[in-house]
Each structure stands twice: as structure tokens, then as C-alpha cells.
């Protein structure tokens, strides 16, 4: 299901202009990260995708539905949204009820609800916590409950707002595993993140926002190397990208694999400088 954001402007009551002409098309199954400084309009933009906000100007299409013409609860069939703060989202007495609420609310038959809940709990490693009250869990686990409850809705589009905030290395691995599973199911994934290294290692396309506008949009290998554009919106290239830039790598590297591959090629080149007709890949 394609997402089309067309020349969207949005002004909050009180006059803060959060979006100033944003256009964006996301194809089915894409993995897109949105980065940018605090207050750049990232959350405002994604709240337009599930109809929580409606454009002051311009329009947003989710498939053939224009969000301003469709009720929020219907949009929930197409777009799942994991809030930045899980406490904005959780209200049931047990983890299992919480995770079942979304799919049940979408009117799925009970056996499908049961299956979706089991899968989502398993994916988020929450199976052994199914009967616990979400508010007896640590903030880190509450965030996993919020994630699972949206995954269980089985929507074609899933949005994560800052999934890695305050999470440790192990939980971030768990989140990466969930992203992988969603991609296998051909879901479209849009994630807001300040964790630029996480972004570099898990997303193909990066949208850079600043002051309510899109400053750059493209493959990560292009966008994450644009240090000047990123700096305008208080973002730095990922650690390995900066390292590659400093070492004079000829291409932008984003992941450990890309870094090591480029390093090996350069070393082979050094070794072979005096050898005749040595070709590099």
C-alpha cells in the first residue's frame, strides 16, 4: 500500500508551524527512517499518516484513502503506530489483553486474534509475561508491549516513533529482530529515530527533516554521508560513516560489513600498488 504525502502544511493551534510543505512517497515494503533535530516535525508528520492529525494544507493518501476523508479508527486498519512513550498507549490489565486489544478492535475473527497475539508476544519475547500487568514491567519492557500491541494489528504499514530510546543493546537487538520479521511479511516500516547508528544498520532509505521540511531523502549511503545537511538539523553521520570520511574512503560506509569490505579493498590496493595490472573490484 503506497503512502503519498503531498505538499502538507500543518499549524498547531497557537500558531506553531510544524510542517511547511512536506512531500513524500513511500512504496509498499520499504523501510524508511526519519531523522532530524528535536522539534523538526517528525512526530507531527507521522501522526498525519494515521489520521491523528490532518493537514492544514495539502493532503495525505494511504493507498486510495485520503486521511482527511477517513475516520481515525478506519485508518487503524492500514496504519499501526507505536507511540514514543509507551505510557501514552497502554491501558489494559494484562500484557495479553493489551496486545489483543488492537486486533480485536479491528474486528478480526477470534482465532486470528489469538494467533496474531501469540505471534506478537513471541516476537517481542513477552510470552512469559503475558499475564503480567504492563505497569508492573520496567519502562523498557513496557515499550516492548507497546510494540507487540501494534505488531499484532497486522497492518500493512507500521510506524515506530523512537523505538530505541533508553533501550540497552540486548533490547535493540530484539527490536531489530521484529523489524526483520515485519519486512519478511512485506510490511512498510517507517521509524523516527535519533539513533543514527541504528538507522544506518537497519534502514535503506533515510529522510532528513529540519524546521518542518524535508532536507534530504534517499538511499542511506547517499544521505548519511551529507554531513553539512545533517548538521543543519543537529544530526551527525553515523560513527562508522564519520570514521570512513576521516580515513578518506571513496564511498560512504554505513555498516560494519561495508566498513570492513572497503578497508580490505584499500589494503589490497596498497599491497598491490607496485604489482603490475592489479585490478580492484
Amino acid at each position: 500500500m503506497r503512502i503519498r504525502v503531498e505538499e502538507v502544511h500543518f499549524e498547531y493551534p497557537g500558531g506553531v508551524k510544524a510542517l511547511r510543505g512536506v512531500s513524500l512517497t513511500v512504496e509498499p515494503g520499504e523501510r524508511v527512517a526519519i531523522v532530524g533535530q528535536n522539534g523538526a516535525g517528525k512526530t507531527t508528520l507521522v501522526k498525519h499518516l494515521n489520521g491523528l492529525l490532518r493537514p492544514t494544507q495539502g493532503r495525505v493518501l494511504i493507498g486510495d484513502w485520503e486521511t482527511s476523508q477517513v475516520e481515525v479508527h478506519r485508518l487503524a486498519q492500514r496504519v499501526g503506530y507505536v507511540f514514543q512513550n509507551p505510557d501514552d498507549q497502554l491501558f489494559c490489565r494484562t500484557v495479553a489483553e493489551e496486545v489483543a486489544f488492537g486486533p480485536r478492535n479491528l474486528g478480526y475473527p477470534s482465532d486470528r486474534v489469538k494467533q496474531l497475539v501469540e505471534e506478537a508476544l513471541h516476537l517481542a519475547e513477552l510470552t512469559d509475561k503475558a499475564e503480567v500487568n504492563p505497569y508492573d514491567l520496567s519502562p523498557s519492557w513496557r515499550k516492548m508491549v507497546a510494540l507487540a500491541s501494534v505488531v499484532a494489528m497486522d497492518t500493512p504499514i507500521v510506524i515506530f516513533d523512537e523505538p530505541t530510546t533508553g533501550q540497552d543493546a540486548r533490547t535493540i537487538r530484539r527490536i531489530e529482530h521484529i523489524l526483520e520479521a515485519l519486512s519478511q511479511r512485506q510490511k512498510t516500516i517507517i521509524t523516527i529515530t535519533h539513533d543514527i547508528d541504528f538507522c544506518a544498520e537497519n534502514f535503506e532509505r533515510v529522510v532528513v527533516m529540519g524546521q518542518g521540511q524535508v532536507l534530504a531523502d534517499g538511499p542511506k549511503e547517499t544521505v548519511l554521508g551529507m554531513a553539512d545537511v545533517l548538521a543543519q538539523t543537529y544530526v551527525e553521520p553515523p560513527q562508522l560513516t564519520r570514521l570512513g570520511l576521516q580515513l578518506g574512503f571513496e564511498r560512504t560506509v554505513c555498516t560494519p560489513a561495508q566498513f570492513l569490505e572497503t578497508l580490505r579493498r584499500r589494503l589490497d590496493h596498497h599491497r598491490g600498488t607496485n604489482a603490475p595490472a592489479e585490478n580492484e573490484a
Binding site: V16, P256, R264, R266
Partner: protein
Amino acid sequence: MAVIEIQHLTYTYPTMDHPALREVSLAVEAGEFVAIIGPNGAGKSTLCYTLAGFIPHFFKGELRGEVRVAGQDIRRVRLEDWVLKVGLVFQNPFNQISGAKFTVYEEIAFGLENIGVPREEMRRRVEEVMALTGITDLANRSPYALSGGQQQRVALASILVMQPEVLVLDEPTSQLDPIGSREVFQVIRRLAHQGVTIIMAEHKVEWIAEYADRVIALADGEMIASGKPAEVLTDPRLPEYGIGISRYTAVARRAAEEGLWPPQRRLPVTLDEAVAGFRAVEEAYAHTR
């Protein structure tokens, strides 16, 4: 002189069977910047709460061992006096905001009002701290109508303005944009140089490596390592404990397995160290054919 002295601290929350901290001992000098790392649930927040006096005065529970800050036994202090000495920036900025004020400016002035600071001094301090934390342009906004990162800056400002001797920060940059995070570390570093003692729980190891004097690693309530950032952050056990390490350390470790890191050289924790190490590798290759 040690400002913070902790000996054999074991603490158990009410209703919990297992201690959240076990036999933790630590001494911190005035003006030292100590970072605490560890997986979620390791006891980082608990240690922050203890230094701030919330444990045992607010959370109750069972505290064993000794905790002294500025020579005073934490059990014997009164929380209302203590908050003037030790400032705590909460993990969730939402919990820090008073709910009693309509603008960011008033919110930051709230603590100073409570202790009767003269009006002119109050204005000066509020404006200085807003400039320091980059929120001057938010002065007239409601503290509740802000993005997560903006709210986190307001929470930080509302503590900095009190000018505590000891500053305890529980993941103060979790919602900040990348350069904003680095700026907070720079501000904290500067305060430490001015003599403020800093304890900061954080996951962002790149900035810890760059700015902290010392790192302690907690896992399951115990202190598993303590030392200079370069030593602790390259400890090979960290990943086993679920503690994140910098990409520089991680990629150099992989490179080292292939012989692509200079033998005898410690793994890097900062960008500069990584650049120096990999340059040395490239130079070595350029000269040996």
C-alpha cells in the same frame, strides 16, 4: 576529598525479593564526571535515586551499607534540604515537570521561587540556563506542548538552575537529537571542570568515552567494572552483559580478528583513536609488499 562515598551498598525495593543493588562500593571526588553504564534493570536508576536521597526517604525499602554524600549519611538527611545539594534529572522528563506552571520560563524558575531567590537573580539564572541548554526560544511555550527532546532540555535546565554541588542524571539525553546529546555532554563536562560532581547513567558510549573521567559498569545490581573509559569500554565482557559498545570498538575488534588492527594497540573507544589505528594499518600495508 571524596564527595560521594559508598561502601557495601545493598538495597532492596519494598515488595521485591532480590536486591536491586548488591555490595556496591564507590568513591567519587569533587568535580569528577562518572558515567554509569549497564543493561536495563542493572540498577543504574536505583543508584541515581540513592545518591539523590529518594532512596531511602521516598521509596523506603531496605538499605544496607554506607552512603555518604558531602560527609553526610544519606539516612540522616532531610530530603527537602538534600535537593538543594544534589540535583536529580529524571529519566522521563515528563515526571520532572511540576504541572504548576504555564510556561517554560516559569517552570525553570519554580525551584528558585521555592527557596526565595531575589527576583533579579532569579531572572539572570533562568535566562543563563535557558541559553546554556538551548531553549531560549521556548520560553513562552507550555512545558507540556513540547517535543520529547525539548521537554528533556527543560527538565535538565530546571535542575541546573538550582546549581547543585552534585548532579545526578538518569539518561538525560535519551530523547535528544545527536548533536544536542553531544552538547549536553559538553555542558556537563564544563560543570565538572567548575567543581560540580557528576554521576550520569547513560547508554551513549561514544560521548562517555569522549567526556567522562571514569566509567562504572553495573550488571544485575553488581559493579562489574570501574576505571578509565578507555579500559572499561573495551572490556570484552561488556557485550555478554548486554552492554552496548561503540561502533569504533566493535569494528576494530572484528578487524583485529582478521589481523587488520595494529597488534599491541588497545582497541579504540573514540573516533580519533579509531582513525589513528586504521591509519597505522594502512601505512603498514603501504610499506610492506
